[in-house]
Symmetry: C2
Subunit: 209 residues, 2 copies
Amino acid sequence: MKSTPRRGPGPLALAVLELLCERPMHPYEMQQTMRERHVNRMVKVTVGSLYHAVDKLERTGLIEATQTSREGNRPERTTYRITDEGRDVFADQLRHMTAEPADEYPEFDLAVGFLHKLDPEDALRQLHERTTAIESNLAAQQVWMDRLATQNLQPMYWINIRYRHAMWQAELTWIRDLVARLESGQINWPNCTPRTKLTVVHESAEETG
Amino acid sequence: MKSTPRRGPGPLALAVLELLCERPMHPYEMQQTMRERHVNRMVKVTVGSLYHAVDKLERTGLIEATQTSREGNRPERTTYRITDEGRDVFADQLRHMTAEPADEYPEFDLAVGFLHKLDPEDALRQLHERTTAIESNLAAQQVWMDRLATQNLQPMYWINIRYRHAMWQAELTWIRDLVARLESGQINWPNCTPRTKLTVVHESAEETG
DNA sequence: GTTCGTTTATTCGAAGTGGAGTATATGGCG
DNA sequence: CGCCATATACTCCACTTCGAATAAACGAAC
């Protein structure tokens, strides 16, 4: 028995379904609406992928074309609506994405894992740059959140922003702690210590496997 | 201002370079070594992608073939070593990945953003499942960290595990808080309120870049 | 009234991803 | 010895991603 290789709709397809839950649209309109609602902060929305996603959703019967209209001589535009099965699959996938932590591979994990390959001052400089970037990031988010708070928008419509804010905050805290530990010498740098063994390396070339 | 279109080596290619910093290897050996060192927890390592990545690294001159040997009649295996330019690019990319927060799209952000599409009890059930999953996740990590602590492995070699642990912890905390707020009725569910119309969501499109 | 920039809408193709498939060697077991 | 499971080591191709290219319509300025 293999580990379920079948995949439901991806993030972009899910976003499409979400829009079509409200009302039928054609792809271009979806794109605009996603921008307006800042859905593009949660999923990568690119033209090509969008049309592809829509196409696949149609092939799998989760959405269907209602009409193809043409204004003047512009490219024909096809309007789609969600099917009943589409609604079901949407809910299922959403539940799944909520309940099951996906295994993703954030780049910073890799960077942190390889950090010992830089020399300590260099690493510290880069970490410092990152904290700065995250700080301005958080500030911008804060402004936005304040704006949203003044308007009477239902909280459930923007908890995702609060979530992201919390995560950035956590990362910032962690990095600051790491920097402090490094600067105070609580963590010593592998290459600087006498008994490094794992990473002494590479003379000139010859080594037969 | 366009979003920097120039791309250095991706995560997998970076991992390859990191290995080859130590000593020459052939692709299959890289794969094994990555498994042993749990690099596969930080990057998605799949055969096809690996060979492709190696191929591209060679084409761009960041690594080069040193020898192709054959044992018996097995497929030929090509051993690669890193070039000087490879080393430079590795360091550059690592610095970049450290200093600049990448914009990635974790699935849970989307799920949280769409959560209001489920009814409240359903959403709470899914969130609860997630907390459970994360808890066991954290427990497993803790065990591993304890094991590593007993061995005298340099801390810098596993701070990435600590980092991931901290991030999971933060997510868990946030979700618990959300659940608490939802259960205590501090956040009311959109559908439960007199629904004006779902189109309240969008407002001005302009904001800080 | 034509030229220029923007908006409307989609197609296309190059590049990348990922897993199944291929093919040989090796080791254990009756 | 014959058989099967596993390890070694890639190759292949179906699918996905994402930005460039295409192309018509619209507004407004010269």
